[in-house]
Amino acid sequence: MAGMAALQSQIMQEPFGEFSWILTLLFYAFFFVFMFYGQKINTYIMLREVEGSLFKLKYLRDEGRKIVIETIKEIGKPQTDPTARVDRFLEYFTISPQSLDPAGIVGKLEHILDVRDTRFKDDVKLMAPATDKTQVNNLENTLEAAMALNFIYKVIRHFYLLGKKTLSLYIIMQIQMILPLVMREAEAYASALKAFADGQPIGDGAGALVAAKLTHGHPTRNIAKDCVVAAVPIEGRTAYVIKAEGPGGNVGKPGEAIKTVVEESEGEIAMIIMVDAALKLEGEAVGEVAEGVGAAIGGPGVDQFKIEESILKYRIPINAVIIKEDIGDAVSPMRKEIFDAVDKAIERIKQVILEKTKEGDRVIIAGVGNTIGIGQ
């Protein structure tokens, strides 16, 4: 026992006794290093964190590109290797119209988006000649997801390299702070790739699925570009149910479709009900159905503008039913909770129609969203 105690005291005292000046020196060294180089050390730590995420983004970008090339080779049966064309496609950009004089900007934006869409579809057809309309739409969606991953990777890499070059804490800090959200978005796009390539319904298609369930069994006709409408009797009213034409991945032009139906009916529409998937807040349940007023539609705003113009002209009341989900659910294969919420949304629509319209009235129901994997 006595021997052990002696050894312990030797270990505890001797090093600190003999080398205490080293510890003091070390303490001061640390103090001065952190006082003068604290920010630099912080910068290096943040850079390392961004670098870790950049590795992941690079992996996701490369995997996305690989999935696209494999899918094109599998279903498109191209004569030549599509790799070079895919690489060129991933670098495409769109310049939005000048907004110094905002009058008429919606028309200009719509035109640019139409040109973009046509160009994308033409390029996909060239890359994959053996594809039908549905597959062209699905491949276009897959390419767009890969494009998004490429863009995210490049932007983060830009800030990383800029931060490394300048060693500016503020350049690195701004990218490090938004990094968790950026990574979430990138992961969502990565999971969307496979869904788009296989043509699986995605969470964003909740609105389109509501419309599909209502139109199924009723004759449909084309009303606007990539949009169909069916006249469906609901609770003694006539509902014009609009959705994007499936099962290929596209969102159609619901704004144009609603405008056409309103004009065809000369404004004799008792109500418009829009159904769409909407981003939920943290803490809210996936597949929660909520109700409100206004044009429930995302995107660049062209369709929302057109809908609002139409309803203003004839003073048509507009209601919205939304199905809540997060960004990851919106672009990945549809979750069961969202699928089940579709029936709840239909019940809610019927309830609104019963409460707010009379028998014999005409209503428009627009199911907004990407109709990939959903027929009609």
């Binding site: 296989d198 699986q200 319904p201 499936g246 699928f339 959903i374 027929g375």
Partner: protein, 135 residues
């Protein structure tokens, strides 16, 4: 965009591996020296033991962290199921999603009544861990 870029991301750098293994080897040497130094120089033995343990712990930690990073780099493909229903007799079958399936697509005739069956649902099921929260 090179073809090898993806595999480069998922590979551990050989330089990093070399550093890790050299540190590990030095730490193990320090531990062996510590054992042999216990009888002759106790203080030195404790220092060597400390250095050995710290070095071994640090290199193992870095090695596992690097492996963990590589493991994290994957795109998860969830399993998606397709539900097929016969509208006439109500016969229902569930199978894995196949390319070309879409909701309201007519598929093979029903095994019971020979009527064409319809894809009525395509979805994935997610098992969410219930987190205890106050809100």
């Amino acid at each position: 965009m090179s073809k090898k870029s993806s595999s480069a991301t998922t590979k551990i750098s050989s330089f990093v591996l070399l550093v890790i293994f050299i540190t590990l080897a030095l730490s193990l040497t320090a531990l062996i020296l510590a054992i042999s130094a216990f009888s002759s120089n106790g203080i030195a033995a404790y220092y060597l033991l400390l250095i050995g343990f710290l070095g071994a712990a640090l290199s193992t930690y870095v090695l596992f962290q690097t492996r963990k990073r590589i493991k994290r780099l994957s795109i998860k493909t969830p399993s998606v199921t397709t539900t097929i229903e016969c509208r006439k007799c109500g016969f229902k079958s569930v199978r894995d999603f196949q390319r070309g399936d879409y909701i309201f697509r007519e598929v093979d005739p029903c095994q019971k009544c020979n009527e064409n069956m319809l894809i009525t649902a395509i979805y994935r099921e997610v098992e969410e861990k219930k987190k205890r929260t106050l809100f």
